[in-house]
């Protein structure tokens, strides 16, 4: 099973990658890791993945030596799904986020509402959202469950 992880936080990435490679997940996974909107989107459009683990907030470009990743995209995950939907690319997404709420002002959305909105907007693309909390292990169980369900 081929998975793409799009995540810019190295600590969170490490946790997720360690978990996916561990014995706790009884599925053999091949994982590719991208760290920005651009590199993630490029991988989706140029390669094939069974599903994508997607962070919501990302820099536009990979942060490299002497580069700051350009504009930070508050809802990069959603932008990626929009592009995939618009270009009718076959791909499925599990959002994995540390945030309980997104956006500001009129765009403010809490996680539960975001889930409902994603189901509505990205039917067939969006699988579910996992709330990641580094100090808890619930996210691992939820993620494992989702991955194993994909296998069925």
């Amino acid at each position: 099973m081929r998975i793409l992880l799009i995540e810019d936080d190295s600590n969170k990435s490490l946790q997720i990658l360690d978990f996916l490679k561990s014995d706790e997940v009884e599925v053999e996974l091949s994982i590719e890791h991208k760290r920005s909107y651009q590199s993630g989107l490029k991988a989706i459009f140029t390669e094939m993945f069974d599903f994508v683990l997607l962070d919501m907030q990302l820099p536009t470009f990979d942060i490299k030596h002497g580069e700051d990743g350009y504009k930070f995209r508050e809802l990069a995950g959603m932008d990626i799904m929009h592009e995939v939907k618009r270009k009718k690319k076959k791909c499925q997404f599990i959002v994995i986020t540390q945030f309980e709420a997104f956006g500001e002002g009129d765009d403010y959305t809490e996680l539960e509402d975001l889930k409902k909105m994603l189901i509505q907007k990205f039917e067939g693309l969006y699988i579910d959202t996992v709330y990641y909390n580094p100090s808890q292990t619930n996210w691992k169980m939820e993620l494992r469950q989702l991955i194993e369900n994909r296998m069925l």
Binding site: H65, G66, E110
Partner: protein, 1184 residues
């Protein structure tokens, strides 16, 4: 009368009778409630006759207040929203006070004429007359404030307000007056006023009340009010003037609604009743529209207006021009005539200069309307000027007409409300144009019939009659029979009539013919706008979408100010919904979306991206510049528009084809280069853009170069300083090579290691382990090697001029490190700064405001944040002061730059590497090479340490803060906690990236990307870095006056940038001023082979100048001394570091730094240095 209704009346009568007998009373409010809402009109009449005076006075309220204090006294009951009942109740009051209302209407008109003519004193006299002879009112308060502001200004406005506001007033009077006073301010934009008012209205939870205040204070903000019954209810205790004005607006609104609440027959009867009593044309207009045909009195002014319109309709512009001026001078409130006057003046090429007295509102209005209609100057500025005026004055007949004129610049259709019906109905004279606003054509014809019976032989009335007849009789063949009508106008309106009937193709044929026959008229800008609008609607109506799209796009390209009027809902909707009949491969699709970006609220940059990307993909283009390869497929002006306005970095960044910002910029440069070829007319514009982008690219490269040159040692400098000393020692040591073992033993009798074996050189190489080449030498020679090694090493690490510790101090430890890390925390408002006087941390002001914590929680919260600030600063301090330090065998520390070499290590080095070297220069280079090797090793450790250890210390501190705050504050009670948590998580990721970035500083690179530069480049690079370090100073923008063409060698870019960064940072750190209060000037110029920098800035008036001047004097003394340890110390002003840059990096022994003492809150520093040796020769090419 039904049984229940009779019972209700009897119950109220019983209560009234009880009251008279001294029994339990019905309250006045209950009584009013019953009269207004429970009983029918007849019952109320009957009962009112039975009321005692006190009751009658109460239910009437105070219709004629004789002071501001008596406005809104009595006359109120319980809140209800029943429009029909309110209208009937208001009718009763209006009929009762008919003389006062008529008198008011007369003087109101007089006031408005005087106001527009700038006769402010007379207008005040009129207001006084109204107050003394009719009554005080909120209307007169508003006008007093308006005149005060326009006559004298802000101060007078507030003085008048102060004279009105009183504890004795009803609270609503005070509130309305306060906000009316703000609204009339001439210097406040209508958007700003809306912001202020919105903030106030947020306090109101009751939407009805919020709407009432909005109607009174910003009526133009809403077309149609949702709670008209409540609005009338709330105004019921106001003066009869305010009640009448509110009543008239609500009735008009009902008339203009496409689905009115009130039965139209009832509304018509109501209007006829009011019209009979007041002779107010507004109610006649409405009655005509609802099918009545009241008998109207047409004033001589009304007849004169129609005659002017007749002249215009016939195309007799000279007569029209002269007559219109004459009418407008006597009554400048007739907005319809401004338009006629302006259009006639354009035909006649007449000036509008002397129509009104200069400086009057009428004159300003005429100028602005002329600009608007002729699309002169900036459309938005003119539009805003007019909007500002109508917002200041508030709604009345002429401002409503003005509002309609500016609204007409937009193509908008409101499915609930007819703005044109509202506006034309609001007219205080009888205008034939009203006929087109009626739903029923028969009502239009009835109105025009009535008008023509009063105003005979009017070509305008006849013309509208013809058009209405043609529209009304659907089968009738439409052609213009009236030959007197100006040909252009006649054909144009006929085409519009065909459009209204849905005959789009015929309409288009007529319009095309019109453009051929009346080329001059068709090109007049206001005619062309109308023509283009009607044509665009015809194309879409005719389902010829791609032609319509192209037509609209072309018109807007030629006249960008047409974009508001040519905004076509159907086309935009179809594009957004990706309807099949709009093809993705049309270049006009992204162009239209771009043109509509600032016109429509439902269009945003994402829509533009989608249309742009769809277009590129449909043609197989990966990059926008590729369009040039197929330029023949498209209209060239479309390609130019697309590349010039749309294909920009702000869209590219959505594409996965670009991997970094440089690629975005390079694509834009590529496009500009293509634009130069296909649009040479705008060559300069494209060249400027290329220069701007190239400069930006260069600045980014420069900043990158600075980042990459943080680890720096001036090896040449060390060599020059040590050469003479070391050469002598080295040569002496070489002499020892040739001594015999005996001689060596005698030489080193005091030492245990008398003989040192080493590998000699064979074929020019010293190879370890090659025993055939094993040699021995004296310990003395080794000692000499050791001393030379230490000398070079010490200079390498600790020289004030050349060493690594100096560059660490100047380029990392001094400000930069703390700036980088703190900027992330500050971005998320998680840390505060230390108060320089008390040494304690400032309180966090941002989050407590967001969270609204109670006092106990607030203290705990503040303690947590202060602890956090202290902790992250402590980590940075530890990194800076403990770990990013140099360590040697003599200078014992925990420093990670460990350059200590034990004797054993040195012996090994000597044996394996240095013993066989017989050339001094080779020896020196080898030692430097060893030191770099050690440096590389240590840099690797430091990178690891920063990106793992230091990062995890910071992450741990963030996690602790997060947990502590979660334990302390319940997010279910304090909703702001969700936002705070979000910020903490984002900050955590930011810190994660930031320490990876900082770790990358610790590399030894010699990349030089800047080959040569002018001073503006390091200025901008240093400012950008500081703006990043100090988020509160993100708009820090000194005024730069650079008068020099000196081009410097690229190698000096980093020292210049660091020097300028130090200078600017001093201002931020020591001026004690917030960013927006700073006034900083940098003059830079060259004179007689010297470069001069003069930097001046203001300082806080609260500053302790004496102490600061003492510090300046101490710095002056330091600068007179030799470059010292101070260069490697952090904190302070950094002037010793600037001195070091001038003397060592810029190699100038004649440098000057002049620090002036602070005087008049100004600090000035002047620096000058030699240009020779820094600048490239004039005839060299500039390669960047």
């Amino acid at each position: 009368m039904s049984k229940s209704s009779r019972a209700q009346r009897r119950a109220i009568q019983r209560k009234l009778s009880n009251l008279k007998k001294g029994g339990s009373a019905i309250s006045n409010a209950d009584l009013l409630y019953s009269l207004k809402y429970v009983l029918n009109e007849h019952q109320s009449d009957h009962l009112i006759e039975e009321l005692v005076d006190e009751q009658y006075d109460y239910i009437l309220g105070t219709p004629l207040p004789n002071s501001f204090q008596s406005i809104r006294k009595n006359g109120q009951t319980y809140s209800i929203d029943n429009l029909e009942k309110e209208l009937l109740w208001y009718k009763r009051i209006i009929l009762d006070y008919q003389p006062e209302i008529n008198q008011f209407l007369l003087f109101k008109k007089k006031f408005e004429i005087q106001f527009l003519h700038g006769e402010y004193q007379k207008s005040l006299d009129t207001l006084t007359h109204i107050e003394n002879n009719i009554c005080f009112s909120q209307w007169s308060i508003e006008k007093r404030l308006l005149v005060a502001e326009y006559q004298t200004g802000f101060k007078k406005n507030k003085e008048v307000l102060a004279s009105i506001i009183s504890d004795q007033n009803d609270i609503v009077v005070n509130i309305l007056s306060q906000y009316q006073s703000i609204r009339v301010e001439r210097t406040i934009s209508h958007l700003k006023y809306e912001d202020i008012l919105d903030t106030y209205l947020e306090n109101y939870r009751k939407r009805e009340l919020e709407e009432y205040l909005l109607q009174k204070l910003n009526s133009f903000s809403k077309y149609c009010f949702e709670f008209p019954g409540f609005l009338l209810f709330y105004e019921n205790n106001a003066s009869v003037i305010d009640r009448y004005l509110m009543f008239r607006e609500i009735v008009l609104q009902e008339f203009a609604k496409r689905n009115p609440v009130i039965n139209q027959i009832k509304l018509r009867t109501l209007c006829l009743d009011i019209f009979q009593a007041t002779d107010d044309p507004v109610f006649a207009n409405i009655a005509f529209g609802l099918g009545a045909s009241p008998n109207i009195n047409v004033t001589s002014e009304n007849i004169d207006i129609i005659r002017c319109l007749d002249f215009y309709t016939k195309g007799e512009y000279e007569n029209c021009f002269n007559n219109t001026i004459s009418i407008l001078r006597s009554n400048p409130t007739i907005i319809e005539l401004y338009e006629v006057l302006i259009k006639s003046s354009v035909r006649l090429k007449n000036s509008l200069k002397n129509v009104f007295n200069e400086g009057t509102i009428a004159s300003t209005l005429l100028i602005n309307l002329s600009k608007l209609l002729q699309k002169e100057d900036d459309f938005q500025v003119t539009w805003n000027n007019i909007h500002k005026l109508i917002s200041n004055v508030g709604r009345n007949q002429w401002t409503q007409k003005l509002f309609a004129v500016i609204q007409d610049e937009f193509s908008s259709y409101n499915s609930d409300f007819s703005n044109s019906r509202f506006t034309i109905g609001y007219s205080d004279f009888y205008n034939p144009l009203l006929s087109i606003a009626f739903e029923e054509r028969r009502n239009s014809l009835s109105f025009l019939d009535k008008l023509s019976s009063k105003i005979t032989e009017s070509i305008t009335i006849d013309f509208w009659m013809e058009l209405n007849t043609a529209l009304f009789e659907k089968s009738r063949k439409m052609e213009l029979e009236n030959k007197q009508v100006d040909g252009f106008r006649g054909t144009f309106y006929l085409a519009r009539a065909f459009q209204a009937k849905g005959e789009f193709e015929t309409s288009l044929i007529l319009l095309n013919r019109l453009e051929d026959q009346f080329a001059y008229d068709s090109k007049l800008i206001f005619n062309r706008l109308e023509l283009s609008h009607v044509k665009s609607v015809n194309y879409v109506g005719n389902k010829d979408y791609s032609t319509g799209l192209e037509f609209i796009v072309n018109e807007i390209i030629e006249q960008p100010n047409f974009r508001h009027k040519l905004n076509n809902d159907f086309l935009i909707y179809s594009i957004k919904e990706n309807e099949d009949f709009i093809n993705d491969n049309l270049i006009t699709v992204p162009i239209l979306i771009h043109q509509m970006l600032d016109v429509r609220e439902d269009i945003n940059s994402n829509d533009l991206w989608i249309s742009y990307d769809n277009f590129l993909c449909s043609h197989g283009f990966d990059y926008p510049h590729e369009i040039i390869e197929k330029v023949g497929l498209f209209d060239l002006k479309h390609v130019i528009y697309f590349l010039k306005h749309i294909a920009r970095q702000s869209l590219f960044y959505n594409s996965y084809m670009f991997e970094n910002q440089d690629e975005l910029d390079n694509e834009r440069i590529e496009i500009c280069l293509r634009l130069v070829e296909i649009d040479p007319e705008n060559l300069r514009e494209y060249q400027d853009e290329i220069s701007e982008i190239s400069r930006d690219l260069l600045i980014r490269k420069g900043i990158k170069q600075i980042d990459e040159s943080k680890i720096y040692v001036d090896v040449d400098g060390i060599r020059k300083t040590l050469d003479s000393d070391l050469k002598e020692s080295f040569n002496r040591s070489i002499n020892l090579v040739n001594l015999s073992i005996d001689e060596i033993e005698k030489l080193d009798m005091s030492s245990e290691n008398v003989i040192i074996p080493y590998f000699g050189k064979k074929d020019g190489k010293q190879e370890k382990g090659d025993t055939t080449n094993l040699r021995v030498t004296s310990y003395s020679r080794f000692k000499q090697f050791r001393d030379m090694f230490y000398k070079i090493r010490d200079k390498f690490i600790a020289s004030n001029e050349f060493g690594i510790d100096t560059s660490l101090s100047m380029r990392i430890r001094h400000g930069t490190l703390l700036g980088e890390t703190r900027s992330v925390y500050e971005k998320y408002q998680l840390v505060t700064k230390v108060d320089s006087k008390s040494g304690s941390y400032h309180k966090n002001e941002y989050w407590p405001n967001q969270l609204n914590l109670d006092e106990e929680l607030l203290n705990e919260f503040n303690n947590n944040l202060e602890k956090f600030s202290r902790e992250v600063d402590w980590i940075s301090d530890e990194l800076k002061n403990k770990w990013l330090q140099v360590k040697t065998e003599k200078k014992l520390s925990e420093g990670l730059f460990d350059y200590s070499y034990t004797e054993d290590e040195l012996i090994t080095l000597f044996q394996e590497k240095y013993g066989g070297i017989e050339d001094y220069y080779e020896f020196f280079d080898e030692v430097i090479s060893e030191l770099w090797e050690r440096t590389e090793l240590k840099l690797g450790n430091i990178r690891e340490f920063v990106s793992v250890e230091i990062k995890s210390l910071n992450i741990k501190a963030i996690d602790e803060l997060s947990q502590n705050l979660k334990n302390l504050i319940d997010k279910n009670i304090y909703s702001g906690m969700i936002e705070l948590n979000k910020n903490i998580i984002s900050c955590r990721t930011g810190i994660d990236n930031e320490f990876d970035n900082i770790a990358r500083w610790f590399r030894r690179t010699n990349n030089r990307v800047i080959n040569d530069f002018e001073l503006d480049l390091p200025i901008e690079a240093s400012l950008r870095t500081l703006r990043r370090f100090y988020p509160d100073y993100s708009s820090f923008s000194p005024k730069i006056n650079l008068k020099s063409n000196v081009v410097f060698e690229g190698e000096y870019f980093t020292p210049f940038s660091i020097m300028l960064q130090n200078l600017f940072e001093n201002i931020i750190k020591h001026s004690e001023l917030e960013c927006e209060k700073l006034d900083v000037h940098l003059n830079a110029f060259d004179l007689d082979n010297r470069f001069i920098l003069e930097l001046s800035n203001n300082v806080s008036k609260e500053m302790d100048i004496e102490t600061r001047n003492l510090k300046i004097n101490r710095t002056r003394e330091v600068l007179t001394k030799e470059i010292s340890e101070l260069t490697r110390s952090e904190g302070g002003t950094g002037y010793p570091k600037i001195k070091k840059i001038l003397k060592i990096d810029l190699k100038d022994n004649e440098w000057n730094i002049t620090l002036s003492e602070i005087e008049n809150d100004q600090f000035i520093v002047k620096i000058d240095f030699l240009v020779d040796g820094l600048a490239i020769e004039n005839d060299e090419n500039i390669t960047n």
